[in-house]
C-alpha cells in the first residue's frame, strides 16, 4: 500500500482511538502534540493499526516509532 492511501485510513484510526474527529494527521505529528496520547493509548493505536491494515508489528518495530511519518512508513513496508 502506498503512503497516499495509508494517510486517510490512518486518520480514521486516530479519530477512533482518540475519540476526536478534529485530529489532522501530519507526518511530524507525535505523542506530545495530542492529548491522551500516553503509553496505553499508544498500544491501543498500534493494535488498531494492526487490525485495520491486517499487519503484525514486533516489539522492536513499535519501540522505534517517533511520529506519524514513521508509522505510515512501517505500514507501507509491512503491506508491500
Amino acid at each position: 500500500m502506498e503512503i497516499l492511501e495509508i494517510y486517510p485510513k490512518l486518520t480514521t484510526i486516530f479519530h477512533d482511538v482518540f475519540s476526536d474527529d478534529s485530529i489532522v494527521l501530519r507526518p511530524d505529528l507525535s505523542a506530545k502534540d495530542v492529548d491522551d496520547w500516553d503509553s496505553l493509548t499508544h498500544i491501543r493505536l498500534i493494535l488498531t493499526v494492526e487490525r485495520v491494515f491486517d499487519v503484525k508489528f514486533s516489539a522492536s518495530d513499535i519501540g522505534k516509532l517517533k511520529n506519524v511519518a514513521e508509522l505510515a512508513d512501517l505500514i507501507r513496508l509491512k503491506t508491500n
Binding site: D16, S19, I43, R44, T48, S58
Partner: protein, 644 residues
C-alpha cells in the same frame, strides 16, 4: 472479510457509520441520555467505540447527569496484569445491559494488598462486586514434573492464595467476588501427555479451575469462566505473546468486546435482569420451508436431511432452555390452525404444543404479538428474546420494541442455535427448583391471546425500509420463477390456479392477457420476485383477475395496494372499466378471504362452494400510495384508442 461469530459479537447489529457523530451529539444534548447510550451500546462495538462510549458515560456521571433508565452498579476491578483496557470496555458494554457502571480500578499488581487492607482503593469504595482478574503468569504454578505430591501442593497453594483474596474482599467490602477460571496457554511441553502428567502447567491449571469451581459454587460468589471463553475462541487466538510482552495484556485486545460482554452478562444476571422468554418464529426458523405453502410433507425438520437437522437443532436447544426454566412462545405469521399442524402431526417435530406457553399465529405485526405474549405471561418485554430468520421482522421488532433482544442470524440455519447460545441472553448465576417449575407455572397450553392494538408506528418503519417495487409484464427471464410461484404459493393465492411453463409463456404473447411480475427490494436486500398477476379480458371493458398471488415474506408491507394501483393504471390506459376478482377458498388460503374487501372491491356474488366474486370500478379508483419507489418497465405504450 467474513464475520467471526464470537469475536465480532455477530448476534448484534453492526455499528452505524455515524457512530462517532452520535456519541458526540450525546455530550451536547443530555435529554434521554441513558436511553440513547443504551441504544448506541446495543451495536457490536469494537474496543475504540466502547472506549468512546465509556468516556461519555464517565464524563456524564461527573456532571451528575441523569442516566435513567440505566441503573447504577459499582464494580471493583483487580488484577495482576494490565486491566486499564478492560475497564472502559466493561463500562461501555454495561450500557448495552442497561447498567450505568462505575468501575473502581486498583493499581497494577496489587491483588493481595487490595484484598487484605480495609483502607485499600477497592475496599474503601464499597463496590457492589469485585472482579478478580488473575493471570496464570502471576501465579506460582511451576513445580517438579511428574511428582503427584508436588503438583497437589501447588494446586492447594494456588487455591489458598485465591481463597485468601476472596476472604479478604468479603471481610472488608462485603462485595460479591467474581473470580475467573484460568485460561491455559497453548504451548505444550510434552504434547498430549501434558494433560495427565502431574506438574505440567496444563495439568495444574485444569485442577486449579476444577478446585475453584468447587470452592465457589453455591457461596453467592461468582465464577466467570474465562478458560471456557478462551477455549471457545481458541487458546492460540486468546493468548497473544506480543501483546503480553508489549503491555502485559492478559489476552489479545481483539477479544475485549467479547470478554466485556461476558463480564456484564454476569452483573446483569446478579441484578435479576436475565431474559426469561424465548419467542420463536416458525417458518424457516423452527422448520425449513413455509408450512402454509409447502404443507406438512414439504417442510424440513427431519433427521437425515441437513436442512431438517439444522432446524431440529433450534428445537432441541429451545427444549433444553425450557428444561432450565426458560418459557417458550411462538410468534408466526400464519393461520393458527395451519401453524399448529406440524406440532400436532409431524412425527419428527421435537417441539410439541404443550411446550409452548403462548402461541400467536396470526397476520398482525410481530411487535404487537410479542407485546401480547409479554402481557399474557405478566412479564416485561425486556425479558423476551425473539428468534426470527427474517431480517425485516427482526428490525421491525427492534424498532418498535427496543427492549426485546433480537439476535442477528447467519444465513446458515445450522448456526442459529449456536448464535442464540453465544449471545448469552439467558445467563444465570444460579439454578434452583423454582427455575424448573417456572416453565410449568406458565401452564404450557399454547394459549392464544387476542389481538392487541398496534405496538407502534408501523408505517414509519416501512418508510425507513426505502422499498422499491418493480412491475414488469411476464417475460422469458422471469418465466421459470413465475411458474414456480404459480405452482407453489398456497396462502396468499386468491384462485390457486396452477399453470405450466408453456402456459405461462403463451400468456406473454396473448393480447387478451395483462400480466405482472413484481419484485421488491429494500435497505435489507433484494426480496426477488414476490408477486404475480394475470388478468384476462373476457369482454372489451373488463378484466378478470385470474391469478393474484404473493409471497408471505412481504406481508404487511402494503404491496397489495401498490399492485392494485399498478393494475388500475394500466386498465385505465386500455379503457378497462371494471375489475372482477375471485376468491376461491382452499384449506390454505383463508388469509386472503377478505383481500378484495380490504382493497375496496364490492362483493357481487357468492357461489355454493364458497367462492366469492368481487368488482371494482376502475375510473373512480382512489388508492393511496404507500411509501415506496415504483418502477414500471417493459410495458408497451398502450393508447386508449387501441383497445377501447
Amino acid at each position: 472479510m467474513t464475520m467471526n461469530l464470537f469475536s465480532d459479537l455477530s448476534w448484534l447489529c453492526r455499528a452505524p457509520a455515524n457512530f462517532s457523530a452520535r456519541c458526540r451529539a450525546l455530550s451536547d444534548s443530555p435529554t434521554a441520555l441513558g436511553t440513547e447510550l443504551q441504544a448506541l451500546a446495543s451495536f457490536a462495538l469494537n474496543e475504540n467505540q466502547l472506549n468512546y462510549l465509556a468516556k461519555t458515560i464517565t464524563s456524564a456521571r461527573k456532571l451528575h447527569a441523569d442516566l435513567k433508565p440505566l441503573f447504577p452498579f459499582r464494580l471493583g476491578v483487580l488484577g495482576n496484569s494490565t486491566v486499564d483496557f478492560i475497564v472502559p470496555s466493561i463500562v461501555g458494554t454495561a450500557a448495552r445491559y442497561g447498567i450505568a457502571l462505575e468501575c473502581i480500578k486498583a493499581d497494577y499488581d496489587q491483588v493481595m494488598q487490595e484484598a487484605l487492607s480495609a483502607e485499600s482503593v477497592i475496599n474503601s469504595a464499597k463496590p457492589d462486586a469485585v472482579l478478580v482478574a488473575i493471570d496464570y503468569r502471576a501465579l506460582p504454578l511451576r513445580c517438579k514434573l511428574g511428582s503427584a505430591d508436588d503438583a497437589e501442593n501447588t494446586v492447594r497453594q494456588t487455591l489458598g492464595y485465591i481463597e485468601t483474596v476472596r476472604a479478604g474482599l468479603k471481610a472488608n467490602s462485603k462485595a460479591i467476588c467474581i473470580l475467573q477460571t484460568i485460561a491455559p496457554p497453548p504451548e505444550r511441553l510434552f504434547g498430549s501427555l501434558d494433560r495427565v502428567l502431574p506438574g505440567t502447567l496444563r495439568n495444574i491449571i485444569d485442577r486449579v479451575n476444577l478446585g475453584l469451581g468447587e470452592k465457589i459454587f453455591g457461596t453467592g460468589d461468582i465464577l466467570l469462566d474465562v478458560a471456557g471463553l478462551a477455549e471457545t475462541v481458541g487458546l492460540a487466538e486468546w493468548h497473544s505473546p506480543t501483546e503480553w510482552n508489549l503491555a502485559k495484556l492478559p489476552f489479545s485486545n481483539r477479544y475485549l468486546p467479547l470478554y466485556a460482554d461476558h463480564v456484564v452478562r454476569v452483573l446483569s444476571a446478579l441484578r435479576g435482569k436475565s431474559r426469561r422468554v424465548l419467542v420463536l418464529d416458525l417458518d424457516n426458523t423452527v422448520w425449513g420451508g413455509v408450512i402454509g405453502d409447502d404443507g406438512i410433507e414439504g417442510i424440513q425438520c427431519a433427521q437425515g436431511d441437513a436442512v431438517g437437522e439444522a432446524h431440529l437443532s433450534v428445537q432441541r436447544f429451545a427444549l433444553e432452555l425450557r428444561a432450565r426454566g426458560i418459557v417458550l412462545a411462538v410468534s408466526s405469521k400464519n393461520n393458527d390452525e395451519v401453524a399448529r399442524s406440524p406440532f400436532r402431526h409431524h412425527p419428527e417435530m421435537l417441539l410439541k404444543e404443550q411446550h409452548i406457553a403462548v402461541f400467536q399465529a396470526n397476520w398482525n405485526d410481530k411487535a404487537t404479538n410479542i407485546r401480547a405474549i409479554a402481557q399474557e405471561l405478566s412479564l416485561g418485554v425486556d425479558s423476551m428474546v425473539f428468534l426470527d430468520d427474517n431480517p425485516v421482522e427482526r428490525n421491525l421488532v427492534r424498532q418498535l420494541l427496543p427492549e426485546v433482544a433480537v439476535p442477528e442470524l447467519p444465513s446458515d440455519p445450522a448456526l442459529y442455535a449456536r448464535t442464540l447460545a453465544a449471545a448469552g441472553y439467558f445467563e444465570s448465576v444460579a439454578f434452583s427448583d423454582e427455575d424448573v417449575k417456572r416453565a410449568r407455572y406458565y401452564q404450557d397450553n399454547a394459549r392464544r391471546v387476542g389481538l392487541q392494538k398496534e405496538a407502534g408506528d408501523v408505517d414509519a418503519y416501512l418508510a425507513s425500509l426505502q422499498m422499491e417495487i418493480t412491475f414488469q409484464p411476464f417475460d422469458e427471464t422471469g418465466r421459470a420463477r413465475i411458474t414456480q410461484l404459480i405452482n407453489k404459493s398456497n396462502q396468499f393465492n386468491l384462485t390457486t390456479k396452477r399453470y405450466t411453463e408453456a402456459e405461462v409463456a403463451s400468456a406473454e404473447q396473448d393480447p387478451n392477457c395483462f400480466t405482472l411480475q413484481i419484485r421488491l427490494s429494500d435497505t435489507l436486500g433484494d426480496n426477488g420476485m414476490i408477486s404475480v398477476i394475470i388478468c384476462r379480458q373476457p369482454i372489451a371493458s373488463e378484466w378478470e383477475v385470474d391469478t393474484w398471488l404473493m409471497s408471505c415474506r412481504v406481508l404487511g408491507r402494503r404491496v397489495e395496494q401498490m399492485v392494485l394501483r399498478e393494475i388500475v393504471e394500466h386498465a385505465q390506459r386500455r379503457g378497462i372499466k371494471k375489475l372482477i376478482g375471485f376468491y376461491c377458498p382452499t384449506d390454505r388460503n383463508k388469509l386472503v378471504e377478505e383481500h378484495y374487501s380490504k382493497l375496496g372491491f364490492s362483493e357481487i356474488k357468492r357461489e355454493a362452494d364458497g367462492t366469492t366474486i368481487w368488482e371494482f370500478d376502475v375510473n373512480t379508483a382512489n388508492i393511496q400510495a404507500a411509501a415506496m419507489v415504483v418502477r414500471s418497465i417493459g410495458f408497451k405504450l398502450e393508447s386508449r384508442a387501441q383497445n377501447a
